[in-house]
């Protein structure tokens, strides 16, 4: 009998009740992903953003997920405990409807990579820097079927294509390739 294949799922548990709105997670994520590492910081480049609406007492750290070319046709509104959550509050997409999760200059999509690095960190940086435990790290095993994950390059190219059209991208690529 074949053993069930499992993979390690890395999760970050977000306890919004504990969030104090400090944006430390944004600061350190952007610093961690700077080139060279920690050489700059800029929350606009962060892969976690805190949706803040102080007078509504809303503070939700949201992680950058998949890129999407088109925004949703309908927009959700959740009412929890008397608070109205709008602005696609819980959505992780890098989406045309908002400025989050895009490189400020190129517009390329950003995605949380759980701080993949060599050597592996004991915990993602945003978790390490959230001293209030609004963010905590958990690992668990889950069964998987081997699906091929789209590579980062694919996602990046698709984003460029959506912005400039495939023809432009193909032209640029062949031009750049000739330079080498």
């Amino acid at each position: 009998m074949n053993a069930v294949k499992t993979k390690k799922i890395k999760t970050i548990k977000i306890d919004v009740d504990k969030c104090n709105g400090c944006r430390a997670c944004e600061v350190i994520c952007s610093a961690m992903h700077a080139e060279p590492r920690y050489s700059s910081n800029n929350p606009a480049r962060s892969r976690v953003r805190v949706i803040r609406d102080p007078l509504a007492d809303i503070y939700i750290p949201v992680y950058a997920g998949e890129y999407t070319a088109a925004e949703c046709t309908g927009r959700d509104r959740y009412v929890i405990d008397g608070k109205v959550y709008d602005e696609c509050a819980f959505c992780r997409a890098s989406c045309p409807s908002r400025g989050f999760f895009k490189e400020p200059d190129s517009g390329l999509p950003l995605k949380c990579d759980m701080c993949e690095s060599d050597p592996t960190l004991k915990e993602p940086m945003c978790v390490q820097w959230c001293l209030t435990d609004a963010l905590t790290y958990e690992e668990r095993e889950e069964p998987v079927d081997d699906a091929i994950e789209p590579e980062d390059v694919d996602v990046g190219l698709e984003a460029l294509a959506n912005k400039y059209g495939w023809q432009q991208v193909v032209d640029s690529m062949s031009r750049l390739a000739k330079k080498d």
Binding site: C22, A34, S39, S40, N41, A44, P54, L131
Partner: protein, 669 residues
């Protein structure tokens, strides 16, 4: 490339409607760091002493600290500077929160505002796009209300807004600038903003802040975070709760207010209420805070949670509060916490300093009870303290009737009212209202700090040295055993030998020379924080903080790409402290102004006080009138100040008070 700082200021001329992005001189960073240091330099160079606080020629400068917005925990301060309408001296009022870092992300270190707009406007800074926009439709609106509407108008929830309310528009001398959970409250910066017809500055940025030595910098930040975490589990034993931990005083967390309510004074800074804190009060106030506080909040990139969302008649949030403003209205009005949190909401929307405002109102009530102010001055004046406060609040922010006089603060109101009202303004230093605290025996350290602190606010100079000795030598020895923060070992000895009673107790201990060094050290730490933008709550204010003089030179160097050691940082701090002093000397400040409120201590010691002041001036290299000598100025690279002092007759060639000055002094006597 510039590190930690952006290297650009935004120069805004509201008269002409002109906006310029100006590259700054990196040599000024090396000389003054940023924040307060470079603010002071701007004022020295550009605002001569003849400029009136509300003149279009006065500047209003929002200077983010050198490290603000970098990963250093708690580095988020903006230092707001101008000439204060109340003290008529150089003011620097700090705000934490999120505005300063956002300004850096937008690509600027400072916003320098001059002139006066013909109509009410706000400034919108979005990276390279900066515009002056109409704000007439926000006239009279609250600070938070305005911020919210501006976010809607700009279609961006995450814009940071610093704004004034009605108090600033009315030029109330103690109007604040509010930005959500933080504010620049002291010395009337909101009034200057109002005089410029500037309702708000909204900012949003998406640029990088660069770090010179990334690995070293992050290592130091990680160490600070680890220390904060460890310190959280190890409060300092034997001191009151708000001094045991880190951060600004943790007023939003503590329920036990015995210490404040029984040691601080109520009403117009007069009534001590021993035995006030009963179980019943404790229960009632705990319930109030538990019901109205909906979340604890931090400033940008800081875990300390010194602020809170407060909900008034809603379950969600009405405004944000921090620190001792929790109690100032309550105690001023002789009321309860529920009242204090309610009126603070209105006062925050109007944009008022929570130290000066309640004291001015309590002052008016005293004058009314003493029949110096009458029903004619205060028609329909209500009977209860609570209602009277709401009445006065309304009059003050509209500058209506008696409110027009009270809006100048207790000192100026006392002068204008006359009939003995002057004596009721008894809790000011340099015309600025102080913490409501009246004590018995003079403490030499506090005497010097109260007298000479240029921020004119004790919490901006006190800090790293304990306020009083522990009862036993064993406790004191335990305290100093783990105390790497101090400049040198003598500080341990001074503390260990400090007794609560007997020969080695206040007022004669610590001795004058030790007192000067202790004051100098605490003051220095505040000047470093005010230049770097690191919150005092993680540096100069608490006992045993994560940032101190032995790790800050490395942090600043690694962040900003400077080459600083302890001696270098010491020299910069001296330069900045001396420059701030010189600015105020140029505005007329002298020895005669360096004094605490007359009744701050019941027991005063004129001879000792003279020795202390003489000792401090000498230690600082100032002459006996409290003016830095030409030699001191030159040593600090402030030769240009010495020259101007000579030209203005503030110093003679030999550094003694000039003949002209002596003549003025003589005529005044």
């Amino acid at each position: 490339m510039r590190y930690a700082e952006t290297g650009f200021n935004l120069e805004v001329d509201l008269t002409k409607g002109n906006i310029e992005r100006v590259a700054t001189d990196p040599r000024l960073t090396a000389l003054h760091l940023g924040g307060l240091g470079t603010n002071a330099r701007l004022f020295w160079d550009r605002v001569p002493p003849e400029v009136e606080p509300f003149s279009p020629d006065n500047l209003l400068v929002f200077g983010a600290g050198l490290l603000a917005g970098t990963p250093a925990p708690g580095s988020n301060r903006t230092i707001v500077s101008s000439i204060s309408p109340q003290t008529r001296l150089f003011a620097y009022s700090m705000m934490g929160g999120f505005w300063g870092p956002e300004l850096k992300y937008a690509g600027y270190d400072k916003v320098v505002v001059r002139g006066r707009s013909p109509k009410l406007v706000y400034l919108w800074i979005h990276d390279d796009q900066v515009e002056i926009r109409d704000a007439e439709h926000y006239r009279g609106l609250g600070t938070l209300e305005t911020a919210e509407l501006i976010r809607q108008e700009l279609g961006d929830r995450h814009v940071q807004v610093a704004s004034i309310g009605l108090a600033g528009e009315s030029r109330v001398f103690f109007a604040s600038i509010e930005q959500g959970k933080s504010s620049a409250s002291r010395q009337g910066m909101g009034a200057v903003m109002g005089s410029k017809n500037l309702k708000a500055i909204a900012v949003r940025g998406s640029k990088d802040i660069n770090i010179a030595k990334p690995t070293e910098y992050i290592e130091l930040c990680n160490q600070a975070l680890a220390y904060i975490k460890a310190r959280d589990g190890h409060p300092i034993p034997g001191v009151m709760p708000i001094l045991a931990g880190l951060g600004s005083p943790q007023e939003m967390k503590v329920h036990d207010e015995k210490w404040h309510t029984e040691n601080f004074v109520w009403g117009n800074a007069r009534t001590r209420r021993k035995g006030f804190w009963t179980d019943e009060v404790h229960k009632e106030w705990t319930n109030t805070l538990e019901t109205m506080r909906t979340r604890l909040l931090s400033c940008h990139n800081c875990p300390m949670k010194c602020g809170a969302s407060i909900a008034v008649d809603t379950r969600i949030c009405s405004y944000m509060m921090k620190c001792f403003s929790k109690l100032t209205y309550t105690m001023g009005a002789m009321s309860n916490l529920d009242f204090g949190l309610r009126i603070a909401q209105k006062a925050t929307e109007h944009g008022l300093d929570a130290f000066s405002a309640p004291q001015t109102m309590a002052f008016a009530i005293e004058l009314y009870e003493a029949k110096i102010l009458t029903d004619e001055d205060m028609p329909d004046f209500p009977a209860t303290g609570d209602e009277r406060f709401y009445y006065l609040l309304d009059k003050i922010v509209h500058r209506e009737g008696i409110g027009d006089i009270l809006a100048d603060g207790t000192y100026w109101a006392g002068q204008r009212i006359g009939k003995g009202a002057e004596a009721y303004a008894h809790n000011c230093i340099k015309k600025h209202e102080q913490l409501p605290l009246k004590l018995g025996m003079l403490n030499p350290i506090y005497f010097l700090m109260y007298s000479t602190g240029e921020k004119i606010n004790i919490t901006q100079i006190e800090g790293n040295f304990p306020q009083e000795p522990f009862a036993t030598r064993e406790e004191r020895e335990a305290f100093v055993a783990d105390w790497p923060h101090i400049p040198d070992e003598r500080f341990k000895q001074w503390y260990v030998e400090w007794e609560q009673r007997g020969e080695h107790s206040i007022p004669n201990y610590p001795p004058v020379d030790a007192t000067c060094e202790i004051v100098h050290w605490q003051e220095k730490m505040h000047y470093v924080d005010d230049c770097t933008g690191i919150c005092a709550g993680l540096g100069s204010f608490p006992l045993k903080p994560p940032f101190h003089m032995h790790n800050l030179p490395r942090l600043i160097s690694a962040g900003a790409g400077l080459d600083l050691d302890e001696a270098g940082l010491d020299q910069i701090t001296k330069r900045n402290r001396t420059l701030v002093r010189a600015l105020n000397n140029r505005l007329g400040l002298r020895r005669k102004d360096d004094k605490p409120p007359e009744d701050h201590w019941r027991k005063r010691f004129p001879e000792l006080e003279k020795k202390l002041l003489d000792g401090y001036y000498k230690f600082k290299g100032w002459n006996e009138d409290g003016v830095p000598t030409a030699e001191t100025l030159r040593e600090l690279g402030l030769g240009f100040v010495a020259e101007e002092f000579a030209a203005r007759g503030i110093l003679t060639a030999d550094g003694s008070p000039s003949a002209k000055e002596a003549a003025i002094e003589g005529a005044a006597q």
